[in-house]
């Protein structure tokens, strides 16, 4: 592929024809967690989504030639930042997408800024990416911690879950989740009865569940992620938490976690996401095509976000006829409104935040689920203009303070 391009360029130079005679080469790097904790959330499914996006866009018709490379960042910031550096420096990658890990995303954010390339974050949660760390080379797609805290917290308080107890993973991310959700709960008239800080990757939650139980709060907020969330819920079922009338609120839970737990254990769990495969005909049709590459699985919002991001990126590059300058491409992406069958119509703000509606879901009971993948019932829709943090609260240096 590279060689063909070289020949084309040589031929073009020799014959003196103008540059537009050959296709513009664009290289997209899907950096994800291919084998670890988030491999179901992103991983090969994200690659499949990116491929679908390229296919649907039909690059040849726009004078583009798109190549996709993939890489495993193994959830380590140093691996991710090394890979990004190498991709940008040596392999001429123009854009990196996905990265379902906040630490790695923050690191790649810096590299993309330094090398003036494009970074579209679909998987990571940290709202710092549109806050103090915002960058003219980065767009934060899909979701962030503020949206999660606001969506789940507000909606629960309004529907009777007004006393909270937090089980927080004792690291920056967990504390950030707890802090954001506490603010929302209190602002909406709820009360936080207590919290406990649990070491990360702890195996046994029994002692902390006991404390949550004795607090008698009606909502137990899980300010943790991944294996910790799954363990908390699993062991919670063992101790009869939900049987005792308390509800778990997963502050960072995905459909892949729900599948991991099974409906029997996860039923009643309340969570916020921006995409559900069974939402409408558009999402269902896309899911069917995605499943051709990923049989037996259902797409997560992260993977849907990759599709949406790649589609919009290619539109911008085609309009500009160049992928070289990261800042310019991102500016173009912000200038154009977004539209795809998965998230509908949306916009991208000046701080790099992609705006679309969010949905509060509740996990169905096993008897309510009629077919495989029928996991959620929709409890509320949060309109796009309320779903994300107002731009004035960002602290983003890109946005001039008013």
């Amino acid at each position: 592929m590279k060689r063909t391009n070289l020949w084309l360029i040589a031929a073009a130079m020799l014959t003196g024809t103008a540059a537009h005679a050959e296709d513009l080469a664009v290289k997209i790097g899907v950096m994800s967690d291919m084998s670890g904790l988030y491999s179901d959330l992103g991983g090969p499914g994200s690659v499949a989504a990116a491929k679908l996006a390229v296919e649907d866009f039909n690059p040849a018709a726009h004078g583009l030639k798109v190549e996709i490379v993939t890489g495993d960042m193994q959830n380590k910031p140093d691996v991710g930042s090394n890979l990004a550096r190498q991709w940008f420096d040596v392999d001429h990658v123009d854009m990196i997408v996905d990265v379902p890990n906040s630490g790695v995303a923050l690191a790649v954010n810096e590299v993309a800024r330094e090398k003036n390339k494009v970074f579209l974050v679909s998987g990571a949660a940290s709202s710092d990416l549109t806050g103090p760390k915002c960058s003219p080379n980065t767009i934060h797609w899909t979701y962030d911690t503020w949206m999660l805290a606001n969506g789940t917290g507000k909606a629960l308080v309004k529907t009777g879950g007004d006393t909270w107890f937090f089980m927080t993973a004792d690291y920056a991310f967990g504390h950030a989740l707890e802090r954001d959700t506490t603010a929302v709960v209190i602002a909406n008239g709820g009360k936080v009865l207590g919290s406990v800080s649990i070491p990360l990757n702890n195996a046994d939650f029994s002692s902390f569940l006991l404390q949550a139980q004795s607090s008698k709060a009606n909502i137990i907020g899980l300010a943790n992620a991944g294996g910790d969330t799954i363990n908390s819920i699993k062991q919670g079922a063992e101790f009869g938490i939900t049987a005792g009338g308390q509800k778990f609120a997963g502050l960072l839970v995905f459909i892949t976690d729900v599948n991991s737990l099974g409906l029997k254990t996860a039923q009643g769990l309340v969570l916020t996401e921006t995409f559900y495969w069974d939402m409408n005909d558009g999402t269902r049709a896309w899911t069917k095509r995605w499943q051709a590459q990923m049989p037996g699985k259902f797409p997560s919002m992260v993977q849907a976000g990759v599709y949406s991001a790649v589609t919009h990126y290619l539109k911008a590059v085609a309009a500009l006829k160049s992928a070289a300058d990261g800042k310019t491409v991102v500016a173009k992406m912000k200038a154009m409104p977004t539209d795809d069958p998965l998230f509908g119509k949306g916009t991208i703000r000046a701080d790099g935040r992609k705006i679309h509606p969010a949905y509060l879901f509740e996990v169905k009971k096993p008897e309510e689920s009629k077919y495989p993948g029928d996991d959620y019932k929709l409890r509320a829709t949060i309109p796009a203009d309320e779903a994300f943090r107002p731009i004035k609260d960002d602290n983003c240096p890109l946005v001039s303070s008013n």
Partner: protein, 326 residues
Amino acid sequence: MASAAETSSKTSAFPIGRETPRSLAVAAAVLVAFLIAAPYVLYPVFLMKALCFALFACAFNLLLGYVGLLSFGHALYFGWAGYVAAYAAKSWGLSPELAILTGTATAAGLGIIAGVVAIRRQGIYFAMITLALAQMMYLVALRVKFTGGEDGIQAVPRGRLFGLVDLNNEMNMYVFVLIVVLAALFLIYRIIDSPFGEVLRAIRENELRTISLGYNTDRYKLTAFILSATLAGLAGATKALVFQLASLTDVHWTMSGEVVLMTLVGGLGTVFGPIVGAFLIVAMENYLAPFGQWVLVIQGAIFVVCVLVFRRGIVGELAHRLKVRL
């Protein structure tokens, strides 16, 4: 380690004389020549990474190959020196050489504390204690604010060396790292080939006899431990500036395992073994990065194979066959 001892004593018993054996001088010349030419051919960031690990492995080898103490928690000094150096450069705005010195000093301090606790036991217990200490500090790094936990300390500025040389230029950074590492390697060589080094080797061969000769072996062991920790810290602090990132990976027990691997593969108790081992393992990981978890399996397999049939390591084997000292 008994067999490493018997191997190296077969190849010309370490000369007590002050002149450097010709084999070492030749090997050193080859190494330096390679390192000067390399950045024009290979990716400089890769080379800098390999150099930092080479220093780390040589520092580790000082303890294992020459004193016979297997520290299974050397990532403690490597990683924490990196954290402090990164923090010093980023939040205190120190210039790179001061940041690195601060990091190295931290490693020395940690080495003193850990050494005092661990030296009390030998052999396997020593290994387990160092592992446990490193794990404890890993868990601390996970939650303490200044390390940035899972995110690590990012966007560390490389700054200007002595306020003059801009280290953001890759070639400048490479030359700086090369000089630091070569100087430290030379220092290690001088330590090995000194009366102090003689006593260390004596302790490895037969500690009781060394005690009976009147040496305070605990003090020698502790000094070697602190030296090893400090130099490992130097490697870690430099690496943090190269990558402009200090993260949990550098304090995790797998990092401790990696340095053991590098030293074992390269050659325990040789001068150049750990350097070769480091370059090899870093290159291997680079190549195998797309294969994710296979790296772990392959590393494990190399460990097993080396222990069973290849205990001398690459350089050790070479030295044995050529009957020279490497």
